[in-house]
Amino acid sequence: MFLWFHKLGSPPHFYRIAGKWIPWLNWMFLVLLVAGLYGGLVLAPPDYQQGESYRIIFVHVPAAWMSLFIYVAMAVCGAIIIIWRMKLAEIVLISSAPIGASFTFLALVTGSLWGKPMWGTYWVWDARLTSELILLFLYLGVIGLHNAIDDKRTAARAVAILALVGVVNIPIIHYSVEWWHSLHQGATVTKFDKPSIHWSMLLPLLLMALAFQVYYVLALFHRCRAEILRRERNSKWIEEL
């Protein structure tokens, strides 16, 4: 097990493993996405208050979850970079950032489009919306900082520290709706109580969340493979490919 983990840490090995996984992940993603969208847009009933408009939840909520998840994954990579100086963690961290930024942007835009008819406004500076916007800036900061430093191993150390410092924002986002009065509603699913959503809506929501999760791994593998090729372009194993 430990040996397997060590082997996975070597870029050429990861390159090959990821390449083998990609076709399977493609199918998993497609099946989950079609099932989730069909369940959410066709099978699920309209909401008792919001009617059909609530259906944006099937994109908004999984995207928001992923925006938090990817940042935590980046922070874990950051810790691994600083403690163990592992090359693969550097690659995973920087490859995750644009994907996380996209999910954050998607969550902000879909929420804003839903907010106009439901709340009566596209944007307010309440705690949840503001902290999620800060998360977007953290992602952009990670990307910018990485591009600003030429030596990629030094860049990775700097970015690791930014990712670790920014992780403080994650619990703030999650608990913002409990700690302060906000316009954004409280948690529906991610709480210790029973989810306050009917199962016919919850099931497609979870399918969509799984689909987004698989998409992240898929996009991450593609980006990591490209980054490995770029970094090791002069090494012997790539000439042999």
């Binding site: 009933p45 309209p46 909401d47 008792y48 403690i83 709340w119 406004t121």
Partner: protein, 142 residues
């Protein structure tokens, strides 16, 4: 773990804990600014600013929604189940506005203690269910 790695792990933990404490104190001191709205109890208790716009959030009291005068102005009471404040608003209400709904109004208090709103937003709750179920629930409650 080698001693060097242990030291680096310790440094990371120290850094994250330090930043968290700093941010925690900053947020604590900004508490009132981050609060998106005041409750009617706080407004009646004089905690809301008197001379500038602020937001007040609460439930619309059933049976208090009226359109006095020209028919453009809506008047209703907001409650947090302890205190009520009367709100007046001339403008377009959001779709979710109804009696019993949580809303947030942005405006000022006038001389007679009524809240004159410039903007009314609906606060949605976290419950999602099909309309048939909602019907069943209100029947059992009645």
């Amino acid at each position: 773990m080698t001693p060097a790695r242990k030291k680096r792990l310790g440094l990371i933990l120290l850094m994250v804990a330090g930043v968290a404490t700093g941010v925690g104190f900053a947020l604590k001191s900004l508490d009132q600014n981050i609060m998106f709205f005041f409750t009617p109890t706080e407004v009646v208790g004089g905690k809301a600013p008197a001379d500038k716009l602020f937001r007040m959030g609460g439930m619309v009291v059933a049976g208090t929604v009226k359109r006095p005068g020209d028919g453009l102005t809506v008047q209703f009471d907001l409650t947090d189940n302890e205190q009520n404040v009367t709100v007046k608003f001339a403008g377009i209400l959001p779709d979710l506005f109804r009696e019993g709904q949580g809303i947030i109004a942005n405006g000022k208090l006038n001389q007679s203690g009524e809240f004159v709103a410039e903007e009314v937003l609906a606060k949605h709750d976290e419950t999602y269910m099909p309309p048939e179920l909602a019907g069943m629930q209100s029947k059992t409650e009645n």
